[in-house]
């Protein structure tokens, strides 16, 4: 058994905190993109992901992802965190032994599960029922996330065949992006979609959220070396370089299309750039990270521009920003990975086309599984409970309907009542 390294442990503690912060940051990003009657509900979907996915991860998800070397799914030995101790984890396969407590590794991976669940909410904001989302989040975190995390990280079939995925192109980015597409199709479009302009109500939130996400992403990618090591440093620096290149290219694309460089576009570019480098961070050179950021901007930008012309109300473009960029990043590893930088494998540009094949397999399997499972999961939940708010609820706004609060209350016309009076008021037919 390996020794615990205090330096590695210290960095991983910090990185875990950074990644957890990404979920409220995403909440802020999403809240700014919706209309002023829905920001609390939108933010609360992300907060709910922390609540739900943490519990499912600790009880069963972690075990299914990281126990054993089953091809498709792990075992149940770590269920309820059984045997997840302060000793390092026993590593499966040929990778270096871990030098951090197993419990910390579990917590670090938990934060990935949380944000992935939260990401999908972007496809269904402003109309999915809050309770239905809670049920979906619980099931999805186990049936889709834990399974795909096992494939890519935990010793499953992609891991075994040698697919490289540094920080979650498969279980985080492609899983959330293509699940988002399925969710948007099953839940359906907002009632005013395509009829009225549905505009972001606060673009400053969007930029602040994107900035905080980028900050958190240094823990996400920089921590995925599972220590203060060279892979982590490479990924950390690439997380600075790649999104910067994406931003510049996005500026140019925006300027060509609309003659203006847009702020919401810039926030989107930050996300796309971070996603592009997520799978590839610890495997490609800093120069290639810049190139990936620049070239990888194109497909995501094209989807962002095209999607609103369709009937598919994939509201906050999770597919473009995460699914497509994750897909691009996974393939990029197969082309430009360099053993001189990662110590594991070269890509096709450096004479190893087998690596490209391994990446293509992942880029085909991950979207297919995520899309199909999410589609089926939501159809099943839809048999038990309504997935959507009623039209009247959707019209009034979900902050008041589901949470009994407003994002921007003025206090005008608000009469102070004793909390105990609420039941009486309702009983007397004076309130609801």
């Amino acid at each position: 058994m390996a020794e615990i390294d205090t330096g590695d442990t210290a960095w991983m503690l910090a990185a875990t905190g950074l990644v957890l912060m990404m979920t409220p940051a995403l909440g802020l990003f999403y809240a700014g993109l919706v209309r002023a009657k829905n920001p609390l509900n939108t933010f609360m979907m992300c907060i709910a992901a922390i609540a739900v996915a943490t519990v499912t991860w600790a009880t069963i998800g972690y075990s299914l992802a990281f126990d054993g070397t089953g091809d498709l799914v792990g075992g149940l030995n770590y269920a309820f965190l059984n045997d997840v101790t302060l000793e390092p984890r026993t590593i499966i396969g040929g990778t270096d032994p871990q030098t951090i407590p197993h419990l910390l590794f579990m917590a670090f991976q938990a934060t990935f599960c949380i944000i992935t669940v939260a990401l999908i909410s972007g496809a269904v904001v402003e109309r999915m029922r809050f309770s239905a989302f809670l049920v979906f989040a619980a099931l999805w975190s186990v049936v889709v996330y834990a399974v795909m995390a096992h494939w890519a990280f935990g010793g499953g079939w992609l891991f075994e065949r040698g697919t490289l995925d540094f920080a979650g192109g498969v279980p985080v980015e492609m899983a959330s992006g293509f699940s988002a597409l399925a969710a948007a199709l099953v839940v359906g479009a907002r009632k005013d979609y395509g009829r009225q302009a549905l505009l972001p109500h606060n673009s400053v939130y969007v930029l602040v959220g994107a900035g905080l996400l980028w900050f958190g992403w240094f823990g996400f990618n920089g921590g995925s070396g599972i220590g203060a090591n060279s892979a982590g440093v490479l990924a950390f620096v690439n997380t600075l370089l790649c999104p910067a290149a994406t931003l510049l290219v996005w500026f140019v694309l925006d300027a060509i299309r609309g003659r203006k460089v847009t702020a919401v576009g810039a926030a989107t570019a930050i996300i796309v750039g971070c996603v592009l480098i997520t799978p590839a961070g610890g495997y490609i050179s800093p120069g290639w990270a810049l190139a990936l950021g620049a070239v990888g901007a194109l497909p995501s930008w094209a989807i962002v521009a095209y999607r609103p012309r369709t009937r598919v109300d994939e509201t906050l473009d999770v597919l473009a920003a995460h699914g497509i960029a994750g897909f691009t990043g996974i393939l990029a590893i197969g082309l430009v990975a360099q053993v001189g930088w990662n110590g594991i494998s070269d890509g096709a540009f450096y004479g190893n086309s087998d690596q490209l094949l391994d990446q293509v397999v992942a880029a085909a399997a991950a979207p297919a599984y995520a899309f199909a499972m999410t589609f089926a999961l939501l159809k099943i939940i839809g048999l038990v409970m309504p997935l959507r708010a009623t039209e009247a609820e959707e019209a009034q706004g979900r902050d008041v309907i589901y949470h009994g609060e407003e994002a921007y209350p003025t206090g005008e016309g608000a009469i102070l009542v004793e909390p105990v009076d609420k039941a009486e008021l309702v009983a007397a037919g004076k309130a609801r």
Partner: protein, 117 residues
């Protein structure tokens, strides 16, 4: 010459505008207002503070029309704003004594007839 005042749900404002446009009623002013009709109060809770909110957000349209356009304007607001639930709003019609178009000093019926109509 009448002033039509329509107070409607904010989420139906776009439908009203669309209906007015189809009825060829031009020249509209809208403001965001808060009001209380017959609808039930909603209860909001912020930590330990519970409040009963009696005022709802509404949108108020003001449209000055000639007699020919009075009924089309009323119909447009009525159809655009209706959901069938309590809180759909009201339409008030009041006589209009004078109107002046500032740019040209035209007055009354000419002033409330849109340019080009």
């Amino acid at each position: 010459m009448k002033l039509v005042i329509g107070i409607v749900r904010p989420e139906k404002a776009n439908d009203v505008l669309e209906a007015l446009y189809r009825a060829e009623v031009r020249g509209v002013t809208m403001t965001h207002v808060q009001g209380h009709g017959g609808e039930l109060d909603r209860v909001e809770t912020y930590r330990g503070t519970t409040v009963q909110v009696g005022l709802s957000d509404k949108v108020r349209f003001e449209i000055a029309v000639t007699e020919d356009f009075l009924q089309p304007a009323i119909d447009a607001i009525r159809t655009g704003a209706r959901t069938g639930e309590v809180g759909d709003g009201k339409i008030f019609v009041v006589p209009l004594e004078r109107a002046v178009r500032i740019r040209t000093d035209e007055s009354d019926e000419t002033a409330v007839t849109p340019v080009g109509a």
